[in-house]
Amino acid sequence: MNQISTFERIVRGLLIALVLLFFLFPIFWILLMSFQTNEQILRIPPSLFFEPTLQNYVALLTGRLQTAAGNLDIAFMRNLGNSLLLSTSSVLLALALGVPAAYAFARYKFRLGESIAFTLLSFRFAPPLLVLLPLSLFFRQLHLTDTYIGLIWVYQLICLPLILWIVRGYFEDISPDIEHAYRISGHGWWKTFRKIAIPLARPGIAAAGLLAFIFAWNNFIFALILASASKQPVTVGALAFVTASGIQYGQIAAAIVLSVTPTLLLALYAQRYLVEGLSLGAVKG
């Protein structure tokens, strides 16, 4: 395996270039489009060289969109704020609920423990609509339709299983001896959990939290069904925006860029953890 011929090296290089082209080109192209006016976008043949404009972003940031039919108010910045609020609070709640549970599953063999863990895991695999459609009827009765709380609660379906299973793996990898030693020196359970267990599992908790944030941000179907117009995150908002603005392609591209940038930056920042997180800790590199 060590000797690689020049020919093979060239072929491998070409293949890698093709792979990169296929997977990165769409992001690159939409980024370019977001800096183009509609006239530049509609030009044929498409060109890589154009005079970039910021007008699409300005329109989104100020919330006023000039169309041929007149001015149109767009709530896109509100969607962006909703995404931020929903994802952050869902992850924080899921961490508060999930980390102690993960610790319990990792440290104690208790009846019901495994079955609870699997029930939570199986949420990951059930068709989301099965739960969402009845919920949409309940939400109307409970007056949760127009609240963030209802959505944050339902977002636990995405965040909790992830956090539970990743963090559990981390706790299992930490030897309980350290905790025992600390307890023997006279410290209570809660202090041990706070001062020893959590700091040691911190990389796992961070990874799980970041990944849960990304998945919450990227979620579409939950909010499509349960969120009223004023509470919608970017994924749903962008689609509504496409329907409403019709042919404002530059703004659509800019909206997409603004919507995907946070998760892509987080992904690059947290890439070390993603592999583990994505496989729910099954594959340790």
Binding site: L24, P26, T119, T235, L266, A267
Partner: protein, 321 residues
Amino acid sequence: MALTDSVRSSMTTATQHSQTATRAPARRRALRQALPYLLSLPALLVCIGILIPFFTAVYYSMMRFRLNLPMLKGFIWFDNYISFLSDGAFWNTLSISLIYAFVTVTGELILGLGIALLLVRPTRLNNAVSIMLLLPLMTAPALAALMWKLMTNPNFGILSYLVSLLGFENFKWASDPSTALLTVVLVDIWVYTPFIMILLLAGLRSLPKQPFEAAALDGVPRSFVFFRITLPMLMPYIITATLFRLLDSIQQFDIIYSMTQGGPGDRLMVFQVQSYLEFFQYTNVGRSAALLIVLWAITYALSNLFIKHWLKLRERAHGPA
């Protein structure tokens, strides 16, 4: 575990003795036994609230329940399911969902394995490439579909332009029944191939080195090494990744809904899109719920298989739990 427990309890009782009452240790022990339940209870409670709608959905699926005709509401046992048997729309949904899942996962598996093999040496370039490939996976699928919608727009889409250079004038992508499936499959492959690639890359890099070194020493041909050593050893990872993706793919909603809302016609009416429309467009709650229960039965069978394989992998990575 039992040993450390007894040590621990003797330690606590010892410290207790020096302090105060005789009833305290018993209470402490009770508390300690309840501790795991107390710790996992909040998480469980939050999820139980979500389990209730599940049972409601089962109940709805056996009802004649239309939001626009409330007076017709009534329990009809399995009539919704029985009506599926003679319903062309149901069979269309079932077959398009299965085809979609099969085509996307096959494509992603082949591509993902190919790319993982390409990047298996941990050089700086390869690592950088594998990180870049995370980007599509971390793009919201609904937004990825919108990106591709812009690129396949018949008026200015770059892909429509490129395809026209190849001689396919008026290639309509998602709006033509004959190419709609191809288009959404392409988006799915764009988003999810990196997932399979990452799992298989981690698998490949964790394989023991000796068999490959021995094969290299003996001058065994590469195709033999691949089919007889690499592939069998990688199989648990392949199966896990495949099942994981199948589970997601058969439930695909985001990409298809954002791209075509199930159209053109009923070309892409996969389970979740169909039941979404049954619910919100035709307000037929009973039928919509029954469709989802059928989908749930399929995913339940698959997920049991998945969890079995995944636990095996997990045990291998962590040591027996």
